[in-house]
């Protein structure tokens, strides 16, 4: 089988699309609408803190943040590539897009690790 890296990036793109499509609407609804508008009793700060501190929550947040970024990177790469027709900058665009996603993934990982 010819080894090219496309399936790797596409796999992360697909995973990012799936996880963000499933979880972001829920998170937005809870934290952006239901709680601020008083439809739901807001959790006590301590409880919320304990929830986010749980290793599984941090793992979930890490997966959500990094995969969503990688989803963005792949989509944005092709948007630039096809939209601006800058074929000759293919490598540079790929490095910038995936590089940004990977860099922010590290930052998110560091923050969640230290949390």
């Amino acid at each position: 089988m010819k080894k090219n890296i496309d399936p790797f990036w596409w796999g992360l793109f697909g995973a990012g699309g799936a996880i963000s499509a499933i979880s972001i609407p829920v998170l937005l609804f809870l934290n952006g609408l239901a709680i601020p508008l008083g439809w739901l009793e807001p959790p006590a700060y301590e409880d919320f803190f304990t929830l986010v501190k749980h290793p599984l929550t941090r793992l979930f947040l890490f997966a959500l943040i990094s995969l969503s970024l990688l989803h963005w990177a792949h989509r944005f790469r092709f948007t630039l590539y096809d939209g601006l027709q800058v074929k000759h900058l293919n490598e540079l665009i790929a490095i910038l897009c995936y590089g940004t996603a990977i860099a922010v993934t590290f930052v998110a990982g560091y923050i969640l690790w230290r949390f």
Binding site: M1, P7, F8, G14
Partner: protein, 247 residues
Amino acid sequence: MPEKISLEVLRYRPEEEAEPVYQSYEVPFRKDWVILDAINYIKDNIDGTLSYRWSCRMGVCGSCGMMVNGTPVLTCATFLEKYLPGPIRVEPLDNFPVVRDLVIEMTDFMEKLKRVQPWIVREEEKPLSEGEYLQTPVELEDYKQFSMCINCMLCYSACPVYGLEPTFIGPAAIAIAQRYNLDNRDQGNQQRLEILSEDDGIFECTLVGECSAVCPKDVDPAGAIQRFKVAATANWWKSLLMPWGNK
């Protein structure tokens, strides 16, 4: 209802003009006429020099695809009435070289179609005496949708990626590959996956989805490509994590 409707047809006669030009024709408007009827009227009654392809007039042969007001359609299945009051602009299919008037050069597609091995591949053919390969209606249903492709090339014409990257193997060829992959009599899955995982294969597609939008037979090439990407990705991880597994 109008008596007449006008068609602006792209003409290109390489021996006469260096650049294509539009030519306007007035044809009778009839409610039951499709674009192809109007073009046939022009050929028979107004201008016999107009060149175009057509055959069956019933959406089966796939040869009368043209751009009508900028959208690739089968002209035999598109009514004049839809474009009232006109004029209707008729051009050869986008993304293909033009041979003459509305006739495009399709060698590239034919070559790509052949590349995906669009036939039943068997590791070993069983002798005739053992009879046919049986298939249940459920097994037929698995691939039937993709077998409806009539090779009309509207999807190539609608695909912006094919327009930018002419080496892209393209929507119909991938849908047809999927038609054979999903056929339980076929064993060529791995070979096709390798051909389609190459640089000009499935990963060129950015899921614009226009191929499925213009397909006159509801084949859904975009869906076929997505399914292929999942299979190729699974295969990629498998060969990375289990390099000792079968190639």
